[in-house]
Amino acid sequence: MSETIKLRKGLNIKLKGSAKPELETLEVPKKVALKPTDFPGLTPKLKVKADAEVKAGDALFYDKYHPEIIFTAPLGGKVLSVNRGERRKVLEVVIETDVNAGSVEFTKADPQTLSEVKVKEAILKSGLWPFIKKRPYGIVASPDEKPNAIYISCFDTAPLAPDYSFILKDQLSTLQTGINALAKLTDGKVNLGVNDDSFSSLKNVVINKFSGPHPAGNVGIQIHHTAPLNKGEVVWTINPQDVLFVGRLFETGKVDFSKIVALAGSEVKEPKYYKTVLGAPVETLVEGKLIATDYKQRIISGNVLTGTKVKIQNYLSFYSSLISVIPEGDDFELFGWADPGFGKFSASKTYFGKLFPKKEYTLNANLHGGERAFVVSGQYEKVLPMDILPVQLLKAILVNDIDKMEQLGIYEVIEEDMALCEYACTSKIEVQKILRTGINTMIKELG
């Protein structure tokens, strides 16, 4: 194993209620849904109508500009409804599940014996392709590109993040099959980012060990510190739990979208792990499991830095292995800005909370201030362990200067990498929103 890459910049936000290493298996949900909104930039074209019968692995919709990328039903049953939002945008394709619906048969083979074309075809047809994202841009990879390498981060440093060593510990051989399949898709290597030795038995991979605070577990940071991305280069990334889907496909010839999701946060009675399925209803995960309060709670599919706010009647997001629940915090606070703040966590050192680094905090979704122009400097740099000037990059995006965006490294970052900047910002600037605007501009201008 290579040397540990030590990262100093960043910030660990210790929230109350991280998941205990206990697993409970939930019943097969009555409904599941795929949400086209989980894929930035996707224009979905529907393949099914309401009431259509589908098997697990049947296509529900596809990408208008890449028809070969399809999105398939996690479980078989009947299409219950297609929920649309403003301007008829498709928000959710909901399936009423039926355990007897069966699943589509795909190739069952050891991926190491298959050709690149066959492997790619199997992943595309089964609807597993959208789990593969590409850098730059952090969007679903294009099947016609060949990546320099594939990166998988096997640890997550975000607040309340699930522990992948726990999730994956009994499924290492399936993970290995998945990795073998992915290895066929690149001329380079499959790179694993780890922070302990749980994955040292895996073959056919390069293991890079990292230490340091969040965002050390972000795959973008790991790419930056191993083989930083230059203009014109492409690498692919995939979440470790999603590699299992690939592994199971080749081991069984069927899609099996069951996954382990952590339920965590200060509002959860017993934070722990649940075995459920991709696209499961949020309700099945949180119902009866939250503490009763007289204030509002916010349910987030994903972590508190990058996740999506969901309602109880919504569904788990495509890439999420975590549901976080925190107080909404929509109250006024008298002289909040003048509080000495013994119970307040801050990246700055202006609150006494800083004196107790071990303490776990209950943080709510309040902005704690109004939006202002950039005033304080040096704040973003402290939480971004990359050779990138974050404020200058954001300003380039704000003035829509494409050359500058490229020169300042927009290919190397996506929202999650700069999420801490947004958290720590004194001026409450919407960093992730601005960054996505910039990325969309690049996609539009350069393709």
Binding site: P228, S346, V375, L389
Partner: protein
């Protein structure tokens, strides 16, 4: 306290667009958010946000200024009673209250004029009050000589807020430090009233001065080639004539500790500015023996380098003015260069330019002007590293 919140909540619809009192929107928002942190929650991006906001940041700086303010009040009284020869017979509280009564009107004028203008501009632009002036409004009085007429303080504040800040777009957009713009405005517009020996010490009509009294600051004395009278302890503790808040190195350093501990002020800029000043002072010390210098200049050259740091506005500028994040260099590397050059320039202007007894103000304003240039080169360096990485890879591939 509940009725205040109810009052603000009830009146909120009235000040919205189209409401009866929509012209009061900024005032309403300003006072409401001053009392209560808003209930707004995250709508995009991160769901949690840091507890820090601009109000707290600015409040911390004002808090760090408190030692300098209090000492400035005491020193105002101290210089007064020293000038009329009654120092020994006057009690501590009487000295302090004399200064308090002199200083508070200056602070009040600065805040009333400045915030008044801020409210008007915020309303015109249709946004809330931005907090930048909380600090500027305190810095402006502290860099004024005590005998500056109040109308001049008001005029200078108006000039600084309008032409130094609002024309650029308000808090966060200005090029120069607004407080120094106010000081520079007076320095150049009213040179007769703003220098000399009579402005530094507060005197009432009919006060009888002690024999041999001179209101000159140690800076002026040093420029005249008279460095032997400088009492180092007085200069460090601040019992010397000078602008209201700048005299006590000790009080300023107390503020610096708070700024550094809380991370609000850039320690890089503070350290590099002081290093730059000391470095230039040392160079002058070395050059003091060279031929061709007039005796006064040679004496000033030989002023021990570290004494430059405790005289005049050097320390106040280094800790509170140079570190203004908006007008300073914004890249981390740039901050080192920016600060170091401020230190050097301040001493050069102070010693080598007979027209300006103090160089800190001009040094900082000059470097404010050049900060974007420094940042430009730091950014260019980053860009170059990224390009080089790509080409090296291509060649080896």
């Amino acid at each position: 306290m509940k009725f205040i919140k109810n009052f603000f909540e009830r009146t909120e619809p009235l000040v919205q667009k189209g409401g009866k009192f929509s012209w009061l929107y900024s005032v309403h928002e300003g006072f409401f958010t001053f009392l209560y942190v808003s209930k707004d929650t995250s709508k995009s991006g991160t769901h949690i946000h840091d507890y820090i906001d601009l109000k707290r940041t600015m409040a911390m700086v004002v808090f760090a200024l408190v030692p300098a303010i209090l000492f400035g009040m005491y020193n105002t009284g101290y210089q007064h009673f020293k000038a009329i020869g009654e120092l020994a017979s006057t009690g501590f509280m009487e000295i302090f209250f004399y200064g308090l009564l002199k200083v508070v009107p200056v602070i009040a004028v600065s805040y009333i004029v400045g915030l008044g203008i801020e409210f008007v501009f915020a309303q015109k632009r249709g946004h809330g009050i931005h907090e930048g002036f909380l600090v500027s409004g305190m810095l402006i009085p502290l860099v004024m000589p005590i005998e500056t007429p109040l109308w001049m303080v008001g005029l200078a504040t108006a000039f600084a807020v309008i032409l130094g800040k609002e024309v650029f777009g308000g808090t966060g957009m200005n090029i120069w430090n607004p407080a120094l713009i106010a000081r520079a405005f007076l320095f150049f517009a009213y040179p007769a009233q703003m220098s000399g020996e009579s402005v530094w010490v507060s005197l009432k009509e009919g006060d009888k001065l002690v024999d041999g009294f001179s209101g000159a600051t140690p800076m002026a004395q040093a420029a005249a080639g008279n460095i032997s009278d400088i009492n180092v302890a007085d200069a460090f503790f601040g019992l010397i004539p000078g602008s209201i808040g700048e005299t006590s190195t000790l009080a300023i350093l107390l503020g610096a500790v708070l700024l550094i501990v809380t991370g609000i002020g850039s320690w890089k800029i503070m350290v590099s500015t002081i290093a730059g000043g000391a470095f230039m002072g040392l160079i002058l010390n070395v050059l003091a023996g060279s031929a061709g210098l007039s005796p006064e200049v040679a004496t000033y050259f030989s002023l021990p380098f570290w004494q430059h740091l405790i005289l005049g506005g050097f320390m106040f500028g280094a800790i509170f003015m140079a570190t203004d994040p908006v007008s300073a260099a914004q890249t981390e590397k740039g901050k080192w260069i920016y600060g170091f050059l401020i230190g050097i320039l301040a001493i050069i202007i102070r010693v080598l330019n007979p027209a300006f007894p103090e160089g800190m103000m001009l040094a900082i304003l000059l470097m404010n002007t050049f900060a974007p240039l420094i940042d430009h080169y730091v950014v260019a360096g980053n860009i170059k590293r990224r390009l080089k990485r790509a080409t090296v890879k291509k060649q080896t591939a």
